[in-house]
């Protein structure tokens, strides 16, 4: 159930899944059977999103400042 996330997963979808899980938890509409799996997935999703954000940030910084660290500002 809480297999690895599909690497093609989009950030928005991941976020949606995450929010779905959070809502389930809030509404306690969660199946005890699935609970651990859901939490696990939620954690995965959080990490996924975080990574996505981080990588995006990094990528953007790289795009904008391709030679960051070097002296040339641009």
């Amino acid at each position: 159930m809480t297999a690895k996330l599909d690497p093609k997963l989009k950030y928005d979808e991941a976020l949606e899944q995450l929010q779905e899980i959070v809502h389930l938890l809030e509404r306690k509409e969660i199946n005890i059977d699935d609970l651990a799996g859901k939490v696990k997935q939620a954690k995965l999703l959080v990490e996924f999103c975080r990574e996505k954000l981080d990588s995006t940030e990094e990528e953007i910084n790289k795009i904008i400042n391709p030679n960051d660290g070097e002296e040339k500002p641009f």
């Binding site: 950030y11 809030e26 199946n31 059977d33 609970l35 939620a42 954000l53």
Partner: protein, 460 residues
């Protein structure tokens, strides 16, 4: 008249008179003034008739004589003037002795003569004559005649054998200046009783000859000698002469009347001759010098005109060349200015072009720089910033979710020993169905327990 007649012979009477006169007057003499009415000379003796007149009437007469020896003595004392003093009409002051001669009667014997009265009388008469001449309009008549410029023909009136006469002719004909004279001589006596008449006649006669001038000469003489030329008749005929009269009467002091009325007078005959030839010489010189100066001035006039022409011509050339030169310079200036003007115009256009091109270039570069700095960089920064914002915003959202997840995560409760129980996947707390007999699922940290509800008690 019945008286007894006392009768004498004439000789007795004359003898008585002679005696009486001699007794009373022989040692006496008297100074007497009288006029000579007649004068005669015989054998050196002089016989005079003396008279006194009053208002034109004769009031006294007496005969007088002067013996030869007395005459000579007195005449010597008077420088020979005596014969001219003893002239008809002269007033004389004489020292006389009264004498009576039985035949010749009463007579005055002249012992001495005082000439002053006579001289004074001469002067008086001379003045009278001058006055008369003036009154009759004769005095200045000669001055109205003009002496010809050249006097060549001369009527000469004078006494041929006198030295004055000869001096005149010699000077006239033997000078070095001019001798081309012709002389018509009129011989006259210049002294004595006939002189006046002869001179007058000669003047009259000369009028009928084609002469330029009448010259009357008389050598030097005493005052009484020259008195003849004070005569009214001579003066009148000189004044009335239609020919100019020049006198040359030798005298030292006073002029005679003839001099005064003549056209001109000189003091000697020689001087008259000199006057005549000098006048001709002067005339000739005047002619010559006038002509010379005419020629000289004419030549000068021509020379100065020629000079003026030379100047005028030079100026003409000078001014003309000036005008041409000035105009050449003017044209040169125009060309120069033209050159400068063209060069400046082209240079200014070129620099205008350069300026325009550099303005184009600079503006273009400015535009590019502006675009680079503002348009592009700003936008890229904007993109960056907005992107980062987005990410940041997402990160915050994600963190919130993560925290919420953590709060909601029951696993922590389970670890602390709590459990979760559900019936039909509904939390027991919320479950409203029939509890009894329902299948209850309980989750602990370690296990999932499924159980059947067997009892339900209400919790208090």
């Amino acid at each position: 008249m019945e008286e007894k007649k006392n009768i004498f012979t004439l000789s007795a009477l004359n003898q008585s008179l002679e005696r009486f006169i001699r007794d009373n007057f022989a040692l006496k003499s008297y100074w007497v003034i009288a006029e000579i009415t007649k004068a005669q000379e015989k054998n050196g003796h002089h016989y005079l008739e003396l008279a006194d007149s009053k208002d034109g009437k004769r009031v006294a007469e007496m005969s007088a004589n002067m013996w030869f020896s007395t005459f000579n003595r007195v005449n010597n004392q008077l420088n020979g003037e005596l014969p001219t003093i003893f002239k008809h009409g002269n007033k004389v002051l004489v020292n006389v002795r009264i004498e009576f001669h039985s035949i010749y009667g009463l007579k005055l014997n002249i012992l001495d003569v005082d000439p002053t009265i006579t001289y004074g009388e001469l002067e008086r008469k001379k003045k009278e004559t001058i006055e008369r001449l003036k009154k009759e309009g004769l005095y200045n008549l000669q001055q109205e005649l003009k002496l010809p410029a050249i006097i060549k023909k001369v009527a000469l009136i004078g006494s041929v054998n006198t030295s004055g006469y000869r001096d005149f002719l010699t000077e006239l004909m033997e000078n070095r200046i001019f001798t081309n004279f012709k002389v018509k001589e009129f011989s006259v006596s210049v002294q004595g009783d006939r002189a006046t008449k002869q001179v007058v006649n000669a003047i009259h006669e000369a009028q009928e000859y084609n002469v330029d001038v009448i010259v009357i000469v008389r050598g030097g003489g005493s005052k009484m000698d020259l008195n003849v030329f004070n005569a009214y008749e001579i003066a009148k005929s000189i004044a009335e002469s239609r020919i100019p009269v020049i006198t040359g009467i030798g005298h030292e002091t006073d002029d005679v009347v003839a001099d005064l009325v003549a056209n001109k007078y000189e003091i000697t005959p020689t001087a008259v001759a000199k006057f005549l030839y000098v006048r001709a010489g002067v005339f000739r010189n005047e002619l010559q010098s006038a002509f010379d100066s005419i020629l000289k001035m004419a030549q000068q006039l021509i020379a100065s005109n020629k000079d003026e022409f030379t100047h005028t011509s030079k100026y003409l050339v000078h001014y003309t060349q000036n005008i041409i030169r000035e105009n050449n310079n003017l044209i040169k200036d125009c060309v120069h200015q033209l050159h400068i003007g063209v060069t400046e115009l082209i240079e200014s256009e070129k620099s205008k072009l350069d300026l325009s091109l550099s303005r184009v270039g600079n503006n273009a570069k400015n535009i590019i720089a502006l675009k680079k700095s503002t348009e592009l960089n700003a936008r890229l920064d904007m993109v960056h910033m907005l992107s980062m914002n987005n990410i940041e915003r997402n990160k915050i959202g994600l963190n919130n979710l993560a925290e919420l997840l953590m709060l909601l995560n029951p696993e922590e409760l389970l670890k602390k020993g709590y459990t979760i129980s559900t019936i039909n996947n509904i939390d027991v707390i919320n479950y409203e169905g029939e509890l009894d007999g329902a299948e209850l699922k309980t989750l602990s940290s370690e296990y999932l327990i499924t159980s059947k509800i067997t009892e339900v008690k209400k919790h208090e």
